[in-house]
């Protein structure tokens, strides 16, 4: 063999190996584009959530070698929680092969992505937030407000108050004030609180706090005058600690303030200091690092110096655990889809199918090492929330302590309201409503 021929063969072989390895990398990877926010006003929540999500993906790679051998990969784009930056990151990362799902943890960014992800056929996960009517998978095939939508949250909170009073009938005659953030997010539950007040006979006052909520003297003086039995805090960011501090100023007891799912983190109570002691908030995932899955993350991921949180004290915090649970749900959706489509890189549409068949009962949750961390989920093609249960935690001045059982929202009451809204959306946008899970998704 002359020198040229030898060179050609060697180069050809090298090219073939390189090409094969490149193809193999793509064949064995499932990609998560992350629109994270690690700087800016909401960085505390962003670092916790995306840290937890990445920690769980790392655990899957380190402990299991991926999902059935398919490695999970990710790339981050900084959004600072701003919608335009979120869309920019979407456009930049959307063409990466093997994209599994989008998880922006931002109502604004999620809203801006609905049309885009539907066109691109990739799931959008809005765990614990997002449009309530996107629960209806008949109209929103690619959007998944997993575990809890805002209406379920409202119903769960009212059910908790009923349990504190000794039954739903005991709510009659009680007075509840809802203190809400002056934004579309804050206002979303106004009608459902009214409906629940009519249903159970409690009197209701809903008071707006203008964004950002760093001044609430007048609202809390009005609350003091109204003398409610409970105040529901539907806050965000700085509004939460200021609410707790101002409540203390007007002498309203913290243990009669019940926070919603975006008023339930350490970041909401620590700045309030002693004023937050006794405050109670709803959650879909308990905090703490005692759960086996968290212990595995500590051992396998942080033990290998691959942990995502700079401050290890934040492991097991509310946002970190939300990220862990979000990781579990995403990975299990891929596993579910792989059982149907094969153990390989899946398309976005195939992952959507996985989410639409994501059923984790308490036994499976326990097998995943998450017993007590979250209850269960049962997503179907038309119910994209998945009937998540909620629990309530009380802040003791240094940590959250669970103070209730797992509580189910009143889904039967909520579903017709959700369908009314989603049907109107479908009509307005010319969307064909799916009649079954096998119904192909129209564009």
């Amino acid at each position: 063999m002359n020198m040229f021929r030898r060179l050609k063969v060697t180069m050809g072989a090298a090219l073939a190996v390189g090409l094969a390895s490149t193809l193999a990398v793509h064949a064995d990877e499932q990609f998560f584009p992350l629109q994270s926010y690690r700087v800016g006003p909401y960085a505390a929540g962003g670092t916790g959530f995306f840290g937890g999500f990445i920690d769980y993906l790392n655990l899957i790679n380190i402990r299991d070698g991926g999902v059935n051998g398919v490695k999970v990969t990710w790339d981050e784009g900084e959004t600072q929680y701003e919608v335009e930056r979120g869309v920019e990151v979407y456009e930049r990362l959307k063409s990466r092969p093997g994209t599994a799902a989008w998880n922006p943890l931002s109502v604004g960014i999620a809203y801006a992505m609905i049309d885009r992800i539907t066109k691109d056929r990739v799931p959008l996960i809005t765990i614990n937030h997002g449009r309530t009517d996107s629960t209806d998978g008949r109209v929103f095939p690619y959007v998944f407000p997993l575990l809890l939508n805002p209406y379920s949250e409202t119903s769960g909170m009212v059910n908790y108050l009923a349990s504190r009073e000794g039954g739903r009938d005991k709510l009659k005659g009680k007075k509840i004030v809802v203190l809400y953030h002056g934004s579309p997010y804050g206002k979303e539950t106004i009608p459902i609180y009214k409906l629940l007040a009519d249903k159970y006979g409690f009197s209701l006052e809903q008071i707006e706090v203008p964004h950002p909520g760093n001044e609430q003297q007048s609202q809390w003086l009005s609350i003091r005058r109204a003398k409610p039995d409970y105040v529901v805090l539907r806050g965000w960011g700085v509004m939460n600690p200021v609410a707790l501090k101002t409540a203390q100023k007007v002498g309203f007891p913290a243990d009669h303030i019940i926070g919603n799912v975006w008023s339930n983190s350490e970041e909401d109570v620590i700045p309030a200091g002693d004023a937050a002691k006794g405050y109670i908030a709803i959650t879909t995932q308990a905090s703490g690092a005692e759960y086996p899955v968290l212990q595995q993350v500590i051992k396998a991921v942080y033990g290998a110096n691959k942990g995502n949180l700079d401050d290890k004290k934040r492991i097991g915090s509310v946002y970190h655990n939300l990220g862990i649970v979000n990781g579990i749900l995403n990975v299990e959706a891929i596993r579910t889809a792989q059982a149907k489509f094969g153990k390989r890189t899946l398309t976005g549409d195939e992952v959507r199918w996985g989410f639409e068949h994501l059923q984790l009962d308490p036994a499976r949750v326990e097998a995943l090492g998450a017993k007590g961390l979250f209850h269960s989920i049962n997503v179907t093609w038309d119910n994209h929330e998945g009937d998540g249960r909620v629990t309530f935690q009380q802040w003791d001045g240094s940590k959250w302590k669970v103070v209730s059982d797992w509580i189910a929202p009143d889904w039967a009451f909520l579903r017709p309201i959700i369908e009314k809204s989603s049907t109107a959306y479908a009509k307005e946008h010319g969307i064909k409503i799916r009649a079954s899970g096998e119904d192909p998704v129209s564009q």
């Binding site: 960085a43 505390a44 760093n214 007048s218 003086l221 700045p271």
Partner: protein, 296 residues
């Protein structure tokens, strides 16, 4: 029957909140008065001061040492800003200087997070925020303390401007920069000193606002509370900052409680701006601001 006691409670709460706005506004006034720059970075400086202090305390630095160290850092920051950003832009149009401080606010916010992290912190300055009752009206201890601090600060400034050489230089520069220059005052030195004082005011405001809201990124947003105060009180009057703050605080709270229900609530932020805009039309220089008279 009209509840007068509630009215008084709302009014007192508003006035005490207004004092907190004044604390931020004073920082603006100091710099505007002497250099004609509207320092939009005052909120970011406030955040930087509070975050530095609380981070030092959390790392085991004693309270007083942390306070002294933060004070030194804020003075150094003020001087550095004047040297590196404002001085090279001398004689540029006001909008250029304003844009420079706007950019500066982003740089300081970013630097604060880079240096001290993104976590939120509680800040305990040793004043309990439990209320006490006077004739059925609840009054916040922290707000009263803040009012006393603001009063003390104004008194201190009054003495400083009246009896010290540097204070007299400030006044001379504020009255007429060219005349001050003509009599031998070194303008850059005065500007450096005033930025250092603005840093100190940011520290005081940062500690009090931090104790109220917690120390977190949104602390820098309190800058927005100062703008209607400045419009009402005048951009170049410390007395105006105090009176403007009291007015804005009272207007906000009274509007929210008594007018808000007619608009669905949540009006206090823009109610203050509505009043400020109206005032701007009648008296553009504010209640205590210097009227500009130009010879043409």
């Amino acid at each position: 029957m009209f509840d007068y006691q509630f009215l008084i409670e709302v009014l007192i709460g508003g006035l005490l909140s207004g004092v907190m706005y004044s604390l931020v506004a004073i920082g603006f006034v100091l710099i505007y008065k002497t250099s004609g720059v509207l320092n939009f970075a005052q909120g970011a400086m406030l955040l930087f001061a509070a975050l530095t202090f609380v981070s030092l305390v959390e790392r085991g630095t004693p309270f007083v040492a942390a306070l002294a160290a933060t004070l030194a850092i804020m003075i150094a920051l003020g001087i550095a800003v004047e040297r590196t950003v404002l001085r090279p832009l001398v004689n540029q149009p006001p909008i250029t200087l304003f844009m420079a401080t706007l950019g500066l606010s982003y740089v300081i916010e970013g630097a604060a997070q880079l240096l001290w992290g993104t976590q939120v912190h509680g800040l305990d300055i040793g004043i309990s925020d439990t209320p006490f009752e006077v004739a059925g009206v609840l009054i916040s201890r922290l707000d009263l303390f803040a009012a006393a601090v603001a009063g003390g600060l104004v008194a201190l400034f009054a003495l400083f401007f009246r009896y010290t050489r540097t204070g007299l230089s400030f006044r001379a520069v504020a009255d007429d920069q060219f005349a001050a220059l003509a009599v031998g005052l070194r303008l850059p030195r005065v500007w450096g000193a005033v930025w250092a004082v603005a840093g100190i005011v940011a520290l005081v405001g940062g500690l009090l606002w931090g104790a109220r809201l917690g120390v977190q990124f949104s602390l820098s947003l309190v800058v927005l509370k100062a703008l209607p105060v400045l419009v009402l009180g005048g951009f170049d009057s410390i007395a105006g900052a105090i009176v403007g703050g009291l007015l804005v605080g009272a207007i906000e709270k009274l509007a929210e409680v008594y007018v808000g229900p007619f608009f669905g609530g949540g009006i206090e932020v823009w109610a203050a701006y509505v009043v400020a805009l109206g005032f701007l039309l009648i008296r553009p220089s504010g209640l205590f601001g210097q009227k500009l008279v130009e010879r043409v």
